[in-house]
């Protein structure tokens, strides 16, 4: 199908993009969520403001212990970036698991978080990593940024400019594990885990979950259960069993709420074990 009629404006600077946005206008970055929705006429914006040409929003750099990823950075650029792989391999892993090559080569990290699909991979790992979403107006912690089904803290005309991720330091490991929808490769459930070890025990941890609930959430009950444990199989299984507690499980054609709760526990066990082995 063809989209309904819309006006197309290409912004060359961020200021221009902000002034063109708002109201019935939508921002276009990689276009791999918005354009399909427009072709199905699910989405019918009056104006598309193309921000894909804004140079300031591209590129990956490291500033001390912070990895800064421009909003227009594609998933494949994140997956193959030396800076990301050195500083936070789990994020590169997650980026490499998104969709198919077409999506990874066109889809952007800024577009992904702004769209806030409940089954998207980035929100889960970003919440776990304690990432910060930087916009034209402010900086928001990832766990506060995703607020509901396709809902974020973004206001009207506000644009995501950068995603900042803390590099995993000594003694800390991170991992992302997901159960793929076999057709769409969306995360039926995806769990990101960050584990900091001191001696043989878990000093602290963060667990982020996507796909299971209508938005990504932190599994705080599981984090508390794991902290202070010996990270043995039993401790991990006990903590993983609490991962579904943090959110209301979705139910749809591909998985019932009960099955999703089970997947939460399995994916969390894998992510925690992997993160612990990397710490």
């Amino acid at each position: 199908m063809q989209p309904s009629k819309f006006e197309y404006r290409k912004a060359s600077t961020l200021d221009e993009a902000v002034s063109l946005g708002g109201g019935e206008a939508d921002y276009l970055a990689g276009g791999h969520s918005l354009i399909p929705a427009m072709k199905l006429r699910l989405s019918e914006p009056s104006t598309l403001v193309d921000i894909s040409g804004i140079g300031d929003l591209k590129g990956i750099s490291r500033d001390g212990d912070t990895i800064k990823i421009g909003a227009l950075t594609t998933h494949s650029e994140v997956a193959s970036s030396g800076v990301v792989n050195d500083g936070c391999a789990a994020l590169a892993d997650a980026a490499g698991m998104i969709g198919d090559p077409q999506v990874r080569n066109r889809g952007t990290i800024g577009g992904n978080v702004a769209h806030a699909d409940p089954a998207s991979d980035y929100p889960g790992i970003l919440v776990a990593l304690g990432a910060t979403i930087v916009t034209t107006g402010r900086s928001t912690a990832a766990e506060d940024f995703f607020t509901g089904l396709f809902e974020t803290a973004l206001g009207e005309g506000e644009i995501v400019t950068e995603v900042q991720v803390p590099a995993t330091g000594d003694g800390t490991g991170a991992a992302y594990s997901k159960f793929f929808n076999p057709a769409s490769r969306y995360a039926v459930v995806g769990v990101g885990a960050v584990v900091t070890k001191s001696g043989g025990t878990c000093e602290s941890c963060r667990i982020g979950v996507t796909g299971a609930s209508d938005h990504a959430y932190r599994a705080t009950a599981a984090e508390e259960a794991l902290s202070g444990s010996d990270l043995g199989d039993e401790a991990i299984a006990a903590a993983a069993a609490k991962v579904a507690d943090g959110g209301e499980m979705m139910s749809d054609l591909s998985a019932s709420a009960q099955y999703r709760a089970h997947l939460c526990s399995v994916m969390a066990s894998r992510a925690i074990s992997e993160a612990a082995s990397r710490a």
């Binding site: 006429r41 699910l42 989405s43 806030a116 409940p118 089904l149 209508d214 139910s251």
Partner: protein, 149 residues
């Protein structure tokens, strides 16, 4: 699609009962409701505009209420026709008293057809729950304001 929700309302059951049959209040709490008019007793027509993520649709719905059992509940049937699909369904609303609070349980079953059903299947239930929660949050706020006491 099946939707089951339960909400606890910090108001006496008689007041909640009067409110959930008040079309003026319903018009204010239904998410995206542009207008709600009574066609006859217990038969209403609503114009609703809903936006969930990238999907924005306008719907004309007809709501019929039957089996009215004050103050414990009623049965409803709804049919909606919209730009993005059609929906039909029905269910029951039940009120019970618990420790001075009112527990409202909502149980409905419905079908969605059209483009929404073809491509939005994985999100329909989550969207339904979200809209329900929004509606009841609005309801709680209105009750707390005492606007319909």
């Amino acid at each position: 699609m099946k939707l089951e929700r339960e909400y606890c309302i910090d108001q006496p059951i008689d007041l909640v009962w009067d409110s959930i049959l008040n079309p003026d209040l319903l018009a204010e709490i239904l998410p995206g409701c542009k207008s709600l008019t009574a066609l006859s007793d217990n038969h209403y027509k609503a114009e609703i505009e809903i936006k969930v993520g990238p999907v924005k649709g306008a719907y004309t719905s007809e709501l019929t209420i039957s089996d009215i059992r004050p103050p414990s509940g009623y049965h409803f049937e709804v049919r909606g026709i919209g730009t993005k699909g059609h929906m039909s369904g029905g269910g029951d609303i039940a009120l019970t008293e618990k420790d001075g609070l009112t527990v409202l349980s909502f149980c409905a079953e419905g079908n969605v057809s059209g483009i929404l059903a073809r491509v939005g299947q994985r999100l329909i239930e989550a969207a339904g729950k979200k809209l329900m929660d929004q509606g009841f949050n609005n309801f709680q706020e209105k009750m707390a304001e005492g606007a319909y006491a």
